[in-house]
């Protein structure tokens, strides 16, 4: 990580003199390479072998899911546990000598109804205490909710250690183009497992978006004759309903944080304008009209503001404005006379950061800007290959995006704080990923504090 950082700095230094000479090789003005947080060194965490009262294989599987979730949370340096320390009582002095900050123990016991009890114990080595013990009910492995319940337990461990939410109990929607040209709406768990199809259309399927409760999704469907519908799908019941069927383009729908409204881009006169539809009444309201295509709206966590994409000034840029309507403020970097291209904004569910992609040195890269401080420096967080269509995880820290790169094209996840990147799903023709809210909160069966 340290060398990665150094190379970023080096590139930044190199980029500056080049800037004056060659338009295509420079960073856009106002864009800085790097991550968005000042990170502290991550605490070292050891996950010991999970014990079982019966099903050892299941305990090992559950332990592996949780170990990987904690690794993917990017909050910890994962400590490789030597065999002699894998079991037995936790000796804080020994672990302290290894610079380990947290030790996690897990035990899996069968319950009468076929499900299991998962007991997690987080030791704080520095203070020499048990930080938290909790037990969770885990449905049997044959139950479709099994993995999600384990992910939710892993998110609790992140919360115990950091006070902040994890994102393991979440999924990512994306569109996959089948060889016959039809489009599949796919969903995958946050750890890349459990890829499956939830809908298929013959035409174009685009811009799927989760409802805040994670039970519904909304997306745009386009057909060869140029007609578009916005469709809401109930994931549990499989029921579809049409939200908007206005003539021409209807696209980029997104739920308001309270789930009561959908904002979308609709062809209105010469180009696209933003409308908000009240789901209960079906009434729609123009949020932003006028010249230029306005699209890809995304709400702030409190629902009071939106960021969106507009090419009103001749090139696509990212703007922020009140969700009720009002003055739009430019968020992406703009320099008079220079080519600019910024699109696909997504507002973090936790912070004032807006992720989008912008062209830098001839390639699209993922960038992050602070909507609370328009005009401040924009951070470019990817460098390898072509990267587009970012979407924030519920922890407000990770971002899923589409990448075309030599090491394999598909969906990747980056930790915006550290830059650590992992592939999520590779190999297909994928587009417009959308990260869900937290889909499951683990409820502890028994609680015993520190």
């Amino acid at each position: 990580m340290q060398t990665h950082r150094l190379s970023l700095l080096l590139l930044l230094v190199l980029a500056t003199p080049l800037a004056a000479q060659q338009d295509t090789t420079r960073l856009p003005t106002g864009v800085r390479l790097g991550m968005i947080y000042q990170t502290l060194r991550r605490p070292s965490l050891a996950v010991r072998a999970f014990t079982s009262a019966g099903d050892a294989e299941l305990a090992a599987q559950v332990g592996e899911i949780i170990r990987r979730d904690l690794d993917y949370s990017d909050r910890f340096e994962m400590f490789e546990v030597p065999p002699q320390l894998a079991s037995g009582p936790v000796d804080y002095a020994t672990w302290n000598g290894l610079n380990v900050v947290y030790v996690l123990d897990g035990a899996v016991e069968p319950l009468e109804d076929g499900s299991h009890l998962l007991r997690l114990t987080l030791h704080d080595v520095v203070y020499g205490v048990v930080k938290e013990i909790q037990a969770f009910r885990i449905p049997p492995p044959t139950d479709s909710d099994h993995r999600m319940a384990v992910h939710a337990a892993a998110d609790e461990v992140v919360r115990w250690a950091t006070g902040q939410p994890g994102m393991a109990a979440s999924r990512i929607l994306f569109v996959s183009q089948a060889p016959d040209g039809s489009r599949d709406l796919m969903v995958v768990d946050s750890d890349g497992e459990n890829v499956r199809r939830v809908a298929r259309v013959d035409g174009v399927l685009m811009s799927p978006s989760w409802s805040p409760d994670g039970r519904r999704v909304v997306y745009a469907v386009g057909r060869d004759d140029g007609s578009w519908d916005v469709i809401e799908l109930d994931l549990e019941r499989g029921a579809e309903r049409r939200i908007s069927t206005r003539r021409g383009l209807n696209t980029t729908p997104v739920y308001s944080p309270d789930g009561e409204r959908i904002m979308l881009a609709v062809e209105n006169g010469r180009d696209l304008d933003l409308f908000e539809i009240e789901l209960a009444t079906g009434q729609s309201r123009l949020v932003r009209g006028g010249p230029g295509a306005d699209l890809s709206p995304t709400y702030s966590p409190d629902g009071r503001q939106i960021a969106f994409n507009s090419d009103r000034i001749g090139q696509p840029h990212i703007y922020v404005m009140p969700a009720q309507g009002g003055e739009a403020v430019l968020l992406s970097p703009y320099t008079y006379g220079e080519p600019g291209h910024y699109a696909a904004p997504d507002w973090s569910p936790e912070t004032s950061f807006v992720a989008f992609h912008g062209r830098s040195r001839g390639q699209h890269q993922i960038m992050v800007a602070d909507a609370a401080r328009p005009g401040s420096t924009v951070q470019q967080i990817t460098q390898e290959g072509r990267n587009e269509d970012p979407s924030w995880a519920p922890d407000g820290r990770h971002i899923v995006f589409l990448s075309v790169r030599p090491s394999g094209s598909g969906l990747y996840v980056i930790d915006a704080a550290s830059g650590r990147t992992r592939p999520l799903v590779l190999g297909g023709r994928f587009r417009t990923p959308d990260w869900s809210p937290t889909l499951k909160r683990a409820s502890a069966l028994t609680v015993r504090g520190e």
Binding site: G248, L249, A293, L295, P339, H341, E388
Partner: protein, 198 residues
């Protein structure tokens, strides 16, 4: 025309007359023979008339065929002109000078075929946001429509649509493919394209 039929009959009649003159006093053609001759002559005349009618019919058919072939050729050419795509620079939606000529030819076709209506579909290359590429495709289709309207055509004859980057012509990731894919396509939605207007 008339002469051709009559002449052999006259020659025949003279020959008969000459012979008849010499042999008149002797035997001479009987009235029955004369009647048979006349019958044969009229059959021959009818046959020739029929032949001539058939030839004329054939000529007319050929001329019609030729006219139809020409009309088909013209319609084909007109459809070709209408279908010809126009292309765009990266991230741009203004009409290239070279494509203005293409659109002027289309305008001539549209003027010559007033019933024809056209859907203009804008497309983008695969780079950039899927979502913005839809907007860009719409911008391109509208720019083409505006140009055609500026040439005096009625705006109501056009509808515009966008397929963004969803329907590439060339499924490759290189400059040539991208250039081919940044385009506007033209689909006839009503009317018969018959004339080029040239």
């Amino acid at each position: 025309m008339q002469k051709r039929i009559i002449l052999p009959a006259l020659v025949g009649a003279l020959l008969v007359g000459a012979c008849g003159g010499r042999q008149a006093q002797q035997t001479g053609p009987t009235p029955e023979e004369l009647a048979a001759q006349a019958r044969a002559d009229s059959i021959e005349a009818a046959r020739r008339a029929e032949e001539e009618r058939r030839r004329l019919e054939e000529e007319r058919r050929r001329a019609e065929e030729e006219a139809r072939r020409r009309a088909e050729e013209e319609a084909r050419r007109a459809r070709e002109i209408l279908a010809e795509m126009v292309h765009f620079d990266f991230d741009k939606f203004d009409i290239r000078p070279s494509d203005q000529e293409t659109l002027r030819r289309k305008a001539m076709v549209l003027r010559a075929n007033p019933d024809v209506r056209v859907r203009i579909v804008g497309h983008a290359d695969e780079r950039g946001s899927d979502e913005y590429n839809l907007a860009l495709g719409l911008r391109r289709a509208n720019a083409v429509r505006d140009f055609l309207v500026s040439l005096g055509l009625d705006a109501s004859r056009f509808e515009t649509a966008s397929m963004g980057e969803e329907q590439p012509l060339v499924r490759e990731s290189n400059e040539e493919a991208w250039a081919m894919n940044r385009r506007a396509e033209f689909h006839v939605t009503a009317g018969q394209v018959a004339r080029t207007g040239m």
